[in-house]
Symmetry: C2
Subunit: 342 residues, 2 copies
């Protein structure tokens, strides 16, 4: 006897009474699960629409053991990449009648597991987006979250599908591009320390270094947003590099703006690349050379992988490990260096 009965929403019981049938019959009519006499069905439907009856999803969820909702955990909702994934996921999921519940960990690593667990209990599955937690913790957490889809991380133990972008490959191609233009002094403006995608970039660049020992490649610390790019301007100028690989487009844009303020021209004086190809990248001045990540696909594919797991619950999951290769997007922020490097 929880809530008082007064003033409650109209429920299946009201419809049943009005139509002169049992609860069960109303449920049958609403869901079309079993054969019901057409006459009775019509009566029920009339009663339902007259009372504007709408089934209570919570009761439904309890009985069915599913919520038609999936959760997504992201490190920072301010990041356009995660926003785009969220959007792609939401649109794809809604096409199948599912809704998305969001949880923003605000880059607080210790919160991720808690948020994910909570989301999982409320939802039929969880998408874990670029988690910052350590490998061991992820390995332990993953099985408890199933159905789970991982973005930008992988796990070995369980067969959880993962979607990732080959950041190592992309950053190498960008570096190649700069070298091809004639640059000999490069600098990488790195991202957040706990970011797995940042580590991938570092690994890729290490490989690049081995293959091009003649090229100077400096590593500079930075962040993942505008401001950190902007703040790094002086360090970049001091580095003497002519080709700058920014962690992502946001950082590149901040840097672009900082360089402009210092009177340096891009690409004449210095070349800058981004990463991600966020929608804004092609509208910067100059338009940004970057590695395009098929971000919309990521969101919708995440949903497809989730749906597969939800549908074939129990069956041997097909452990899909999708990896996307970034596509070079050569624009105007890169060019051959001036003859006499600064």
């Amino acid at each position: 006897m929880a809530r008082r009965n007064t003033n409650r929403r109209i429920g299946i019981a009201d419809v049943a009474e009005k139509a002169g049938v049992s609860h069960a019959t109303v449920s049958r009519v609403m869901n079309g699960n079993a054969a019901v006499d057409p006459g009775i069905a019509a009566r029920v439907r009339a009663a339902a629409s007259e009372l504007k009856y709408q089934p209570n999803p919570v009761g439904r969820s309890l009985a069915l053991g599913k919520t038609d909702t999936i959760g997504i955990v992201v490190p920072d909702l301010a990041n356009p990449t995660f926003q785009a994934i969220l959007r792609g996921l939401s649109i794809a999921a809604s096409q199948d009648g599912y809704r998305v519940l969001i949880a923003d960990s605000s880059e607080v690593t210790s919160e991720e597991a808690i948020l994910a667990g909570e989301a999982r209990r409320r939802c039929d599955g969880v998408v874990l987006c670029a988690p910052r937690m350590g490998d061991a913790e992820l390995e332990e957490l993953a099985p408890t979250l199933h159905p789970l889809v991982l973005i930008n991380r992988t796990t070995v133990a369980t067969n959880t599908p993962s979607l990732s972008v080959d950041y190592g490959q992309g950053i190498q191609e960008l570096a190649q591009h700069l070298v091809g233009l004639g640059h000999r002094r490069l600098a990488f403006l790195s991202g957040p320390e706990h970011s797995a995608s940042n580590r991938q970039r570092l690994v890729g660049l290490e490989k690049f270094r081995k293959e091009h020992p003649e090229i100077e490649l400096q590593m500079l610390h930075g962040g993942s947003n505008f401001d950190s790019g902007h703040e790094s301007t002086e360090a970049i100028i001091a580095s003497g590099a002519t080709g700058i690989l920014a962690f992502n487009d946001l950082v590149a844009m901040g840097l672009l703006s900082g360089l402009h303020e210092h009177g340096l021209r891009v690409p004449e004086d210095i070349s800058v690349t981004g990463f991600d190809d966020i929608p804004f990248a092609k509208y910067t001045t100059p338009p940004l050379t970057t590695a395009a990540v098929p971000i919309n696909e990521l969101g919708s594919l995440a949903w497809r992988r989730m749906r597969e797991q939800i549908q074939q619950a129990g069956e041997p999951t097909t452990q899909a490990q999708d990896e996307f290769s970034p596509r070079m997007e050569i624009r105007k922020s890169t060019a051959a260096p001036a003859l006499k490097p600064a």
Copy 2:
């Protein structure tokens, strides 16, 4: 007898059995609602943590009649403004233990009411963000959605709190700013037809026209994103106006890029203003003069108004109608016009 019992998650019954107490006692211990013998409580807690018991939120929701979730309906999740509102809302709500469920109407007006209704049934309240539906429909829908918070729209009938931005005022100030710089030929590149905020801008500009009959002010049709701004470039040039009021920052940025491609310099040849002050606005080249909308505040205030309604359920709601005044953000995309207007 819905699902088969096999393989089910561990529930309150398991804890009760393990601790040798009744379901009720476990519930009492978990929620701290009533006095429980410390010894028994400890036993229950031990059993719970040993079994890693986590209450099922669906069962909880059904019993409590609340879901600790609120819904938000937005016209387009790709729009940075709505992304920012979503983010502010989500962060504020999570501080109080609430989660956010999202619904994207994809600008399909007819879907809004359905999505909102569905969201409301699943959640404890709904935030309706810049709905495109007509006034009559909104008026009819609002009472059925309570607790409801409206953003960028108001409603008279019920006492639902609303948050809005004085777009009319902001656009007038921007126009004033241009006139103050010496511009005499202005053009407004308008937004989506169904957008209430676009109508507000038009009303504001009508007022401006009355007060400044000597100023030429053209109205051009446009959209709300980069591309529409970009596409309008030629129409803008053809208009002969020297001061352009873009619908929002996105449109302004697209326009900036288009003008650049046509060899026109901003602000020397033509001045451009945006609206919203999205994070990117200060990093464009040149940095964009715009009217700043306190977008983060909007999201968190939306939550505060929602929380007020949820808490004082039943009590006379305080029908708050908050209106924000945009703040002029004068940057480098506006300047005095060339002596001889094009």
